[in-house]
């Protein structure tokens, strides 16, 4: 198969080709996701750790490629690996709790994705960028996936492996935290 053919194939099909021992297909997946994974990790971790951890993400993706189910989104699958790597790294530094109780109770009213207009979204994005370092890691990740990676509630639920309604609750709390930090640091 030539390079042009690989460029037209979907991520999921490239993953299936990798499962069939086509290493070129995996190379194209690395090229497609390298920047996205690095960007995501650089907002979560120290800049110095990003390169090594990104490399681990792709190596783990290759090792576990046979566990990928082609009916699911490849993006959610690879971000799940990146999430695990980031969490393991943060847990080593004891900055993440072992268990979150917000996954215990149902939050039905938050299950529907909130629709925001572009102006509001840009405003929130700017606020997040300004106080990213100060956001609690638990909220930082969810807000990054929603505002910077453009993931839906369902995709975020698949990456973080939490109920969809919990995504809604955490996003609401994350926005509140961002607002609070932003107002404290930059005023009105």
């Amino acid at each position: 198969m030539n390079a042009v053919a690989y460029l037209t194939i979907s991520d999921e099909n490239l993953a299936v080709l990798t499962q069939k021992s086509d290493n070129n297909a995996f190379e194209f997946l690395v090229i497609r996701y390298e920047e996205k994974i690095k960007r995501y990790l650089s907002r979560m971790l120290n800049k110095a750790d990003v390169e090594d951890i990104s490399q681990n993400v792709f190596l783990k993706a290759f090792i576990n490629i046979n566990s990928f189910n082609e009916k699911l989104k490849f993006s959610a699958w690879i971000y799940r690996i990146a999430h695990n790597e980031a969490v393991n790294h943060l847990k080593k530094r004891k900055t993440l709790p072992l268990f979150d109780f917000d996954i215990f109770l149902p939050h039905q009213s938050y299950i529907k994705q909130e629709v925001e207009d572009e102006a509001t979204k840009t405003e929130i994005k700017n606020e997040i960028e300004a106080c990213l370092e100060k956001i609690t890691p638990k909220y930082k990740e969810i807000i990054l996936l929603f505002y910077f990676e453009d993931f839906s509630y369902q995709q975020i639920a698949d990456v973080l492996r939490i109920p969809q309604a919990t995504v809604g609750v955490r996003l609401k709390r994350a926005r509140e935290e961002v607002k609070k930090i932003y107002l404290k640091n930059y005023g009105e």
Partner: protein, 166 residues
Amino acid sequence: MENNKNFSQKIVEQIRLGKIKSRPKIYFILQTLLLLFIIGVSVAGAVFLASFVAFGFSLKGSLFLLLALAFAVLIFFLLAFLFSEKLTFFYKRPFIFGFLILTFLIFILSSIVFKSSFHQKVLNYANKNNVPILSPMYKCGCGCGCSKQASCSCLKETETNKACLH
């Protein structure tokens, strides 16, 4: 750009040199089966212990439900801690639903085991044969938990009449 090239090349090079190999599909199938086996054993263990305690202390009604609930709490948190991110049963819905389903399951199954002659049969078997773990677990043989063992009056009654006073 050069940096980008190096990154993907570095990874692909490790794969081509055979330093990194992907795990076969069977590995993941076996992993899932092992997971289901552990869950099955944990639930069966909780059912056995809940019905055993109920049998030993002749618990009924709300006390039995409380007992099943206590075992469900233990098992659920153990399973949730170990597998909450591996099984959709745990992470697709709020934990409270999974917890209620598990409590109900343990209560129903242990009620069935308690009502059946299972523990009586095990008790008779444990009395006749000196089975490690099982015989000391059933203590004096009547399931009353008095730990008097051979000197227990209930046991003598059991031996002669083949029925327990409790």
